[in-house]
């Protein structure tokens, strides 16, 4: 990519915007934000938040602004390796992002500033920690002014976490449909009645939804009310308690227990790990995407070799386990995310480009597709050619495991359905994938019927 382009999702706040120039990311700060930007630096808030790892660091750069008529400064934020969205996060990722937002607001108040929004999209996982990436989210705290981000915080964080914790963890997926957070009346309807016995959920969700309904269609003048600094601290403290009280344990799902129920012998499993390590090394990637990576056992082979790795899985419990392990181990180059490969995140929001689709956020250098192909081909009826085409869009190198029909896992998939998969053979797999890829290496995994392939995409026109 060359030239200059604005980041499509950076248009709502008039304080500034993000743009790419010659592949580097910059943020223009507009003159209307000058006072707040200067205050952020002079009051010590920027330094404290950056030192605490809560705000993305930046440096001021002396380059020509993207929009000189409105520009005050241009800054270059430290790049985030992979932009992820709240609907791709597991429960604890969203919970940690919520607590980070509240901690930032508490520190901002100490410095006489306040968050002017509380969007979950302003938080990203950077070096394994949730950080605020929007440097322009702060404004001078005006004594008595209510927190403008209160409603947004409840919609973006509290409502989805309450639904995931108290109703069903899969309801986090509602965030994909409701990009500005889950409407509180919807959350109130979906939450069990017993949540009205919890003071924070009663007030911040149930009564909040009722209050919205009561004042629907009315406007409040700016002079309508005052929230003292102490009251603001009380509100933030209560929201903090509300978030901390919400828990979800990742247990009992099919995939989270997957490695306790595989058909590998210990030697077969060790051999597979060794082969994956060799194939990753042969493709010398800087980024790896592990598709259907479960709790990230094979992702860690890449991550331990200092390769930035994103581990996608469809199961919230597997992603939760992976994330908690990353957090405990302070694994800063492995990002677990939720993704249904048969329905990956599309481009969404305004002009379908405000939030990028999965494919647009690639390609990775190397894609891992281990013990995956049979689920796509047999459980979801995706033709082998379709799988090859999809993988080619995600990365030039592919490490893929072919699982034949006589493997016990495939037999299990076919046990309750008619075998309509005449084309699902190793020969046809090789023929089909050879149209798109060159087979660099293939090795049988010991004490199994499976084969591991290292593939490299052919240049277009090469067959």
């Amino acid at each position: 990519m060359t030239g200059e382009r604005r980041v499509p999702g950076s248009f709502r706040d008039p304080s500034g915007f993000l743009f790419y120039r010659e592949e580097a990311l910059y943020r223009q700060i507009n003159r209307c934000y000058q006072d707040n930007y200067d205050l952020l630096n002079t009051c010590g808030l920027y330094a404290e938040l950056v030192n605490a790892g809560l705000l993305i660091p930046h440096r001021e750069v002396d380059i020509f602004p993207a929009d000189p008529a409105s520009a005050y400064r241009v800054i270059a934020p430290e790049p985030v390796r992979f932009i992820s969205y709240p609907y791709e996060w597991c429960f604890s990722q969203l919970r940690d992002a919520a607590l980070t937002t509240l901690r930032i607001q508490q520190i901002a108040l100490d410095h006489g500033m306040s968050l002017k929004d509380a969007s979950a999209y302003n938080i990203q996982f950077h070096r394994a920690r949730p950080v605020l990436i929007d440097t322009l989210s702060f404004e001078k705290y005006a004594e008595g002014r209510p927190w403008i981000g209160y409603q947004q915080f409840c919609r973006h964080f509290l409502a989805p976490l309450a639904l995931m914790s108290r109703t069903d963890v899969r309801l986090g997926g509602l965030l994909r449909n409701h990009l500005d957070g889950i409407p509180l009346d919807l959350a109130a309807r979906l939450l069990p009645a017993r949540t009205k016995l919890s003071f924070p959920l009663l007030t911040h969700i149930h009564l909040h939804a009722k209050s919205q309904k009561k004042y629907e269609g009315r406007t409040v003048k700016p002079a309508a009310g005052k929230v003292s600094r102490l009251a603001m601290r009380g509100l933030i403290d209560n929201l903090n308690h509300a978030i901390k009280a919400l828990r979800w344990e990742a247990e009992g799902t099919e995939w989270a227990e997957y490695y306790e129920d595989t058909n590998y012998t210990p030697e077969g499993f060790r051999h597979k790990q060794r082969l994956v390590a060799e194939f990753i090394a042969a493709s010398s990637p800087q980024t790896v995407w592990d598709l259907g990576g479960n709790i990230g056992i094979f992702s860690r082979i890449a991550a331990e070799n200092h390769i930035f790795t994103v581990c996608f899985d469809v199961d919230p419990a597997a992603v939760e386990k992976n994330y908690r392990q990353c957090r405990t181990q302070q694994r800063d180059n492995l990002l677990p995310l939720l993704c249904d490969l048969t329905n990956p995140s599309p481009g969404a929001g305004w002009n379908t480009s405000e939030r990028a689709g999965l494919i647009e956020r690639g390609p990775a250098d190397t894609v891992l597709a281990l013990a995956l192909i049979h689920h796509l081909a047999i459980s979801h009826n995706v033709p082998l050619a379709g799988i090859a085409e999809f993988l080619a869009r995600l990365g030039r190198w592919v490490i893929i495991e072919f699982v034949p029909k006589d493997d016990s896992q495939v037999r299990r998939l076919l046990a309750t359905r008619e075998d309509i998969f005449g084309d699902y053979t190793q020969d046809i797999f090789e023929q089909v994938f050879s149209r798109t890829y060159e087979i660099i290496r293939s090795e049988m995994i010991r004490e199994s019927k499976r084969t591991l392939y290292l593939l490299h995409a052919k240049k277009s026109g090469e067959t």
Binding site: R12, D13, P14, S15, K116, D117, A142, E143, G144, R145, P146, W147, I148, G149, Y150, Q151, Q152, C154, T203, H204, L207, H208, K210, S211, Q212, K213, K214, Y215, E216, G217, R218, T219, V220, K221, P222, A223, A224, G225, K226, V227, S228, L230, A231, M232, R233, G234, L235, D237, N238
Partner: protein, 89 residues
Amino acid sequence: MNEIEKTRPKMMSRKEHISTLIILGALLALIPSSAAWAYIDPGTGSYMLQILLAFFLGALFALKMFWKNVKSFLGHLFSRRKKQATDDR
């Protein structure tokens, strides 16, 4: 002038109307004004709830902080006495 402006006519019972006016009147009499302009809509219902809620939560927070300080003071006092007693021995 009433601080709440109706932009859409809505049927409201006389009882509801009176109670709303009393609550809002009481609130507005107590609360000094401050400007609030933002690029996101804080939402009228959210705004009003926050004002009410924050008042109570602020009071609770003050009590919490007071109790924390008392505990810290007592803890400090007892640990000093204990230390003194140990030193005297």
